[in-house]
């Protein structure tokens, strides 16, 4: 990806910055320009709590090219305690631990490298709490 795109996504990938609607208090992660619940266009930036629970998950065995050296790996949809839902990798679990409802917390991790001379993309992965 371009360095500009990587840079403009840092507030979410590194700091969990969410937008909270000034009118109805709905949380958006990543932020949006208009609230889909009430139409309000004013938001306050807040750091989202890192805790949530697994809603569903899969094991990716045939990965996209940049993830070849990581497969198999687990991807889940996580319900965050502050309201947003995320698509996120799950890691650092032990056999038999992964299940719907598993409480997890987001941690700062390397996501993938773009070849030998490209950007190293960092972000969050979920780990059991």
């Amino acid at each position: 990806m371009s360095s500009a795109r990587a840079w403009r996504e840092y507030p979410q990938r590194y700091r969990y910055e969410a937008a909270v609607c000034d009118q109805c208090a709905k949380w958006f992660f990543p932020p949006r320009l208009v609230c889909d619940a009430c139409g309000c266009r004013e938001f306050t930036t807040k750091a989202m709590r890192r805790t949530g629970k697994v809603l569903t998950y899969t094991v990716i065995r045939v990965p996209p090219a940049p993830f070849k050296d990581q497969a198999p790996y687990v991807v889940a949809i996580v319900q965050m305690d502050d309201g947003p839902r995320l698509n996120v990798q799950v890691t650092d679990f032990v056999d038999g631990q992964l299940k719907i409802g598993l409480p997890v917390s987001l941690e700062f991790r390397k996501i993938y490298e773009e070849g030998e001379a490209g950007i190293i993309n960092y972000g969050y992965k979920a780990v059991p709490v």
Partner: protein
């Protein structure tokens, strides 16, 4: 708004068409549709194509394909809604004829997917999900549908064997379709024994990478008699979107955009699920067919897997689904899929589906979707 009829269809053998270019694949099917209709001119055309850019490095397909179709300087519009591109192209053509803006409209769909490597095709297809907040984390399309499958199994008790039954049924139907990419029967054991792609989905739960095209000729229903092709009336059309990201949906085990599109189509047609004699659904993965049949109201919510396993959705069953073989067996050249579904409906309503023919078919439905159901389009057709 005028009533609209389909008076011509064109489709050729799908597969890995190494010797053919995107433009030739399209023109081959488009000419077949023009010949079927006996049309002596085309006023305008819409072509569904998901990613000429990423698959063959070619955009500006409206002009390119109008040029090569040899019908003169007609308006040519390329429609993109990921895997729903063909169905949305059909809706666009329908609205152009219904509005009175044009009389004879060609609706086509095309995808040329095998000029790139598997990695590049996976990347191109992943652009139908949210690049920034889904694909970034390494999830694939099979992975997204696998998570829907896990949610559906958890909520309704859907089983692996029920999903496999969908693949077995569609491959059997496809074995009766000479144009299918993989016209080979399979078994539950073979599906469950095939390699895992994204748990719980095996490779035989997934639709393939395909080169192919399909085309239809639309005209006002009151002018259908002027054409040689047996006409079929389009009586309902519905289109809805949903959140681009799967994780933003309230319910991960339902396809709400399909439900909304179907409601609009039923309302426009004055029909209900009980009136539908057969349906082509978007079985990009076996779980997708189960969830689509539920969203369309053709089976009870949560019972799609059981219905497939019990033979309710087989040819000769209560509501035959994917008589063509579906995306699973017929192939899935993404932009062409929605148009080819309409062709199967037309063939069935004309009574010309051969060994796949559903007895006394009068009303057919087609459901096409993009991404994880972020675009959903449904049409209902009736014999004239």
């Amino acid at each position: 708004m005028r009533d609209v009829a389909i008076v011509g269809v064109g489709i050729k053998k799908w597969g890995e068409l190494w010797e053919q270019s995107l433009r030739n694949i399209f023109v081959d099917s488009a000419l077949a549709a023009i010949d079927d209709a006996g049309a002596n001119r085309i006023d305008s055309m819409y072509v569904g194509c998901m990613s000429g850019g990423l698959f063959v490095g070619q955009e500006h397909l409206g002009a390119l394909l109008a040029d090569h179709l040899g019908q003169g300087p007609i308006p040519g519009t390329r429609v993109e809604s990921a895997c729903a591109s063909g169905g949305v192209a059909l809706r666009s053509g329908l609205l152009e004829v219904a509005s009175g803006a044009s009389d004879i409209v060609l609706v086509g769909g095309v995808e040329k997917m095998t000029d790139v490597s598997g990695d590049e095709a996976t990347y191109a297809l992943a652009t139908a999900s949210d690049q920034e907040w889904e694909a970034f984390n390494g999830v694939t399309f099979p992975g997204l549908y696998a998570m829907m499958a896990v949610a559906h199994m958890h909520k309704y008790g859907t089983t692996r064997e029920q999903m496999a039954a969908v693949a077995v049924k569609n491959h059997f139907n496809g074995s009766l379709n000479p144009l299918a990419q993989y016209p080979h029967p399979t078994t539950v054991e073979a599906v469950l024994g095939s390699v895992l792609v994204a748990d719980p989905l095996h490779i035989l739960d997934c639709s393939p990478i395909t080169d192919g095209a399909a085309a239809l000729i639309l005209c006002p229903a009151d002018k259908a008699a002027e054409f040689s092709g047996t006409p079929v009336r389009i009586i309902g059309s519905g289109f809805s979107t949903d959140t681009i990201a799967l994780h933003s949906r309230a319910d991960l085990s339902s396809l709400d955009a399909v439900t909304r599109a179907a409601q609009k189509a039923y309302e426009m047609a004055g029909k209900s699920p009980a009136d539908i004699d057969l349906c082509e659904v978007h079985d990009c993965f076996t779980i997708a067919e189960i969830m689509a049949t539920e969203a369309l109201g053709l089976v009870e919510i949560g019972q799609g897997g059981k219905a497939a396993e019990a033979g309710e959705t087989a040819i000769g069953g209560r509501i035959p689904i994917n008589t063509s073989g579906g995306l699973k067996s017929k192939g899935h050249p993404v932009g062409a899929t929605g148009v080819a579904q309409a062709i199967e409906a037309v063939e069935q309503l004309r009574g010309g589906a051969g060994e796949r023919q559903v007895e006394d078919a009068r009303v057919a439905m087609v459901q096409n979707m993009g991404g994880t159901g972020a675009s959903a389009v449904v049409h209902i057709m009736e014999a004239m």
